[in-house]
């Protein structure tokens, strides 16, 4: 039983970070109809910045948090403004390749600047100690961070559902021409989506780095966002949270019961299975047309 509880907890914790990353990818898909393959770097760069500043003892944590998220927001906005906005009307695969190229640039720069070092992030003023569930000890700090990540995810989902900003975002995503005729500044909405996505990824990366270690292997976690994105449905905010949690669970249960070397098989088969059985995902809109 304790193995099972440990696995469920592990899945819950990983799912928290995944949910934030996937939420950002849904925002980007709604704005630009592309998958952002640079999202892993969006998550890694802020985590590295905070880790480095903390280890140098140069910038206090909360300032580091704000600055690093600001940096990635600017990078994301630049990617949208300079590159992706100009790919409108090009073949569908061009934006995808553009984000891959951008990912290569960021990846190379991360390698040169941070030299694949490892950093720890310590979040101040978190409760220390641990709680125990039938023999499994869980640190309160990790629990608090996971709860915070889910809380943030749910808050963003509620904002998008119930405020006028959310309504405008949904309108711009569904029909940009009609939305702009209705007086919505579609471009501002799109660039806002990219910024929000980068902020969510950055916070997710810092949250993950504070309970684990900041290292280039965090990119593997970001890759897991793709099965989660597809499972939840590309354009579904609620699906992002569900998909993130589900993939987190599948991952940790695989590691606990089958063996961690089987992870690629169980997690990435989800993509092929969803495409085969239910291409719109669990909660996405059914806009998929077969040919």
């Amino acid at each position: 039983v304790s193995l099972f509880i440990a696995a469920v907890w592990g899945g819950f914790a990983v799912g928290a970070t995944l949910a934030l990353i996937v939420l950002g990818m849904v925002l980007i898909y709604r704005a630009t109809e592309t998958f952002n393959f640079a999202h892993g770097q969006f998550m890694l760069i802020p985590a590295y910045l905070v880790g480095k500043w903390q280890s140098d003892d140069s910038v206090p944590f909360f300032l580091a948090l704000v600055l690093s998220v600001l940096v990635i927001a600017l990078i994301s906005a630049a990617l949208y403004r300079v590159v992706l906005r100009r790919t409108v009307g090009m073949p569908l695969f061009i934006p995808v390749v553009a984000t891959l190229g951008f990912a290569a640039i960021l990846d190379g720069l991360i390698g040169i600047v941070f030299r694949s070092k490892l950093y720890n992030i310590a979040v101040p003023s978190l409760p220390s100690g641990a709680v125990s569930f039938s023999g499994v000890r869980i640190s309160t700090a990790a629990l608090a961070i996971a709860a915070f990540a889910y809380g943030l995810g749910i808050a963003v989902a509620l904002i998008l559902r119930f405020t006028s900003v959310g309504a405008r975002m949904r309108a711009a995503g569904q029909d940009s021409l009609l939305a702009s005729q209705g007086g919505i500044n579609v471009r501002r909405i799109y660039i806002g989506s990219w910024i929000a996505a980068a902020v969510l990824a950055g916070i997710g990366g810092i949250a993950y780095g504070s309970t684990n270690v900041v290292s280039p292997s965090m990119l593997d976690l970001a890759f897991l966002a793709f099965p989660a994105l597809l499972l939840g449905g590309f354009d579904s905010i609620a699906g992002a949270l569900v998909g993130g949690l589900a993939v987190g669970m599948i991952q940790s249960i695989t590691s606990a019961y089958i063996g961690s070397e089987y992870l690629p098989l169980t997690t990435y088969s989800i993509i092929l299975l969803v495409l085969l059985i239910r291409p719109q995902g669990l909660l996405g809109t059914q806009a998929v047309s077969r040919v």
Partner: protein, 325 residues
């Protein structure tokens, strides 16, 4: 067509020159270029002609390479083994393409992304069970005649010619027109009676087959095969080759492969100039990663037709000026 034949003849002349005069390192660069060019030609019919993107190129290279390893260990002769590697890769492509290509949109990108991890999982397991981390060692055919590279550059160029022939025959004539309608107007293609899903699957299988063929050849040429060398970054570098050379152009794919194969050498030189010899070796992979990322973005924004497209534009403008003036 004339440009294509000219390009192949240039590569063949280079091959003869390399066989006769080049040193070990330069001939290694050359054979790397030719095997990459074969894969790039295969990818170009998918990306350029049919307008579908695959992120699974590294995985299909791995499928070809590991099929070759498996055949070689079973005692299958080289020629047959390379052909079988192409067939196996094409079949795997068919399996990966079935979930993705029946749906309209960019789902092939996601399916091949998944395939990258799943296929590498299988080849890693196979490698772990047979030889472990060091990877496989094939008798290097590359050094067939003592110290030299032997006749290999020429043989590889003939293989490139074969791949080009296959690519040319599917991207020209009726077949090519069908693919381009599917690329540009998927809905209209269906209305014209083209079986869109079948066309896309077919081209993806052929493309994967050619990429696997290149992987098998590279395995024999290098003599070592290890699962860790087939990374997502490698897959992205093939996308860069197509965009840099120019989409939907076989010559472009060959030119792009040449530039990207030469890039690691170039970036070692650049970092050596800027930061001195020691850090050059340490940072060269990262610098070349940045360089091909920048080239991808540059080609998308400034030169959508790639080098070949820009060259044709220039020639066209020059000819028009001459005839108009």
């Amino acid at each position: 067509m004339r440009g294509l034949i000219a390009a192949l003849i240039i590569v063949l002349v280079l091959a003869v020159w390399v066989t006769e005069y080049a040193d070990g390192y330069n001939s290694f660069l050359f054979v790397t270029f030719v095997t990459s060019a074969i894969a790039a030609v295969g990818l170009n019919i998918l990306m350029g002609t049919a307008g579908q993107v695959s992120i699974g190129n590294a995985a299909f290279l791995a499928v070809g390479a590991f099929t070759a390893v498996f055949m070689d260990r079973a005692g299958v002769p080289l020629g047959l083994s390379v052909v079988l590697a192409a067939v196996v890769s094409a079949f795997v492509g068919l399996i990966v393409g079935i979930p993705a290509l029946r749906i309209r949109g960019i789902y092939l990108a996601l399916a091949t992304f998944a395939a990258h991890f799943i296929l590498l999982f299988f080849v890693e397991r196979y490698q772990a069970r047979t030889v472990g981390d060091v990877g496989f060692y094939l008798t290097p055919r590359f050094a067939a005649e003592g110290t030299g590279v032997g006749y290999w550059p020429v043989v590889l160029v003939l293989a490139l010619g074969l791949a080009t022939l296959v690519a040319y025959s599917v991207s020209s004539g009726d077949c090519g027109r069908v693919m381009r309608v599917v690329r540009d107007r998927e809905g209209a293609a269906g209305a014209l009676g083209i079986r869109v899903a079948r066309a896309k699957l077919l081209i993806f299988a052929i493309s994967s087959g050619i990429v696997g063929f290149a992987g098998a050849l590279a395995a024999y040429v290098n003599g070592t095969v290890s699962a860790t060398s087939f990374t997502l970054g490698l897959a992205i570098s093939y996308l860069a080759m197509i965009l840099i050379g120019g989409t939907d152009s076989i010559v472009g794919a060959i030119v792009g492969a040449g530039i990207i194969s030469w890039l690691p050498q170039l970036s070692t030189d650049i970092t050596g100039r800027i930061a001195g010899g020691d850090s050059a070796a340490a940072y060269a992979p990262q610098v070349s990663q940045v360089l091909y990322g920048v080239l991808i973005i540059f080609c998308i924004l400034v030169a959508p037709g790639g080098l070949v497209g820009s060259f044709n534009d220039l020639v066209g403008r020059f000819v028009r000026q001459r005839s108009g003036g």
